[in-house]
């Protein structure tokens, strides 16, 4: 058991920093940019993604011995879609406002390459428990980066954090931060900072 939890910690560390899906592998950028204008939306999106990645990782892993190799992509997509529909129904029922704000991006979790990447790269050839941890850890790594981007955009764009005003009254809002280009700039700068402090290993 001790050994197992150590492994879990290793997976977590890897997913959060060394192989962070956003910084290192540039996966799942689409939604990373679209939902980060407000921190609340981002937090919900992050949680949904953690749930979907972890559960579909576990399911793919549980079925790995009986899934024919030829149609495994299709099977994975169906498993992922199933969990995304669960998330969509729950959001619509309990958080209708946020569900409306996220719009099509909830459905687009299906095509988020992080989930496919983890299913294909990890869950397919590992037992259920590590796959669950691996999925959750990668989802968390993604959610944290998103929250970072959203924090900068919300503080500068709306002068608030999670909807609470933090900037002094005279603060001029940076309208650009709310709009699309700022998402590119902020994430680009994040990549720059991340690569400066921990240069990516040379890949050939």
């Amino acid at each position: 058991m001790a050994n197992q939890s150590q492994d879990s910690m290793a997976i977590l560390g890897k997913a959060l920093w060394e192989e962070n899906p956003v910084f290192r592998q540039i996966l799942g950028i689409c939604s990373a940019l679209a939902v980060t204008n407000l921190m609340v939306n981002t937090a919900i999106m992050g949680l949904s993604l953690i749930f979907v990645t972890a559960m579909s990782g576990a399911t793919v892993s549980a079925l790995r011995k009986i899934t024919p190799a030829r149609i495994r992509m299709m099977v994975q997509v169906l498993i992922i879609s199933f969990y995304v529909i669960v998330v969509d129904i729950v959001l619509k029922a309990h958080l209708p406002d946020i569900s409306r704000a996220l719009g099509p991006y909830v459905g687009l979790i299906i095509t988020n390459c992080i989930i496919m990447g983890r299913c294909e790269g990890y869950a397919r050839s590992n037992p259920v428990w590590p796959s669950l941890v691996d999925g959750a850890a990668n989802g968390l790594g993604y959610a944290l980066v998103l929250l970072g981007v959203a924090f900068i955009r919300e503080v500068l764009g709306f002068g608030s954090v999670f909807g609470f005003t933090v900037m002094p009254a005279g603060f001029t809002r940076w309208t650009i931060m709310v709009m699309a280009p700022a998402a590119f700039f902020v994430l680009g700068t994040f990549l720059w900072v991340a690569n400066t402090f921990a240069p990516a290993k040379e890949k050939k």
Binding site: I26, L27, G28, I29, C30, S31, L33, A34, M74, V77, L78, S81, F82, V84, I85, D88, I89, G103, P104, G107, L108, I110, T111, N112, C113, M116, M179, A180, P181, A182, A183, F184, F185, L187, G188, T189, L191, W192, N195, T196, P199
Partner: protein, 197 residues
């Protein structure tokens, strides 16, 4: 909610003012990966345009005549992704048989397209906005052309950038994102021309 907007307006808006790549961030993954190379960008852009136009039409039909009458809207995600995957598979087989030349140009990109979020995204957007059939086709085609325009422009910029002194830590995806930001900024200049949404 855009019931009154005519198809040509939607077409124009999807290409310029509401570019799915630069405003809605759809299809970023393949955009970042492929835009290194101008030739592949043109091929992928063409494939995306074609598949997007056809799948928006197909999914509109499926949604209107199958999902809504039978109350299956909740399964939309699964059905759409299956329609897209099946269409791409079929298209690949047809192209391989009919035109080996076209297969060489487009073939390699077709499998990539199934997981391109732009295709699914456009299909979901058109449902949320409640477009008619003609509007859907215009939106799909315009979205594809807009995506193609953006990736080809980016590939051109990146070819030039090979000679520019980019800081080492910023090179690759980092600088691409920032250039995309600048492109998005310049596309915003079109936004006064049409009011959409």
């Amino acid at each position: 909610m855009d019931g009154g907007v005519s198809a040509p307006v939607i077409l124009f808006a999807a290409i310029f003012t509401n570019n799915i790549l630069l405003v809605n961030f759809l299809g970023m993954c393949s955009f970042l990966a492929i835009s290194k190379d101008l030739k592949s960008s043109i091929g992928l852009g063409l494939a995306v345009t074609f598949v997007m136009t056809c799948t928006t039409g197909l999914n509109y039909v499926v949604n209107t005549f199958i999902l809504i009458p039978y109350g299956l809207e909740q399964f939309r995600f699964i059905v759409f992704i299956i329609v897209i995957a099946a269409f791409v598979q079929l298209l690949e087989m047809i192209i391989e048989r009919v035109s080996p030349l076209l297969y060489v140009v487009l073939g390699v990109f077709l499998p990539l397209i199934t997981v391109n979020c732009a295709i699914l995204g456009v299909c979901l957007f058109m449902i949320i906005r409640g477009y008619s059939f003609l509007q859907c086709i215009a939106f799909g085609f315009g979205g594809g052309v807009g995506w193609w325009l953006a990736i080809v422009a980016m590939a051109g910029i990146r070819e030039r950038m090979k000679n520019a002194p980019v800081p080492k830590a910023l090179a690759g995806p980092g600088i691409t994102l920032i250039v995309a930001g600048l492109m998005a900024l310049s596309f915003m200049a079109f936004s006064g021309m049409i009011q959409m949404q």
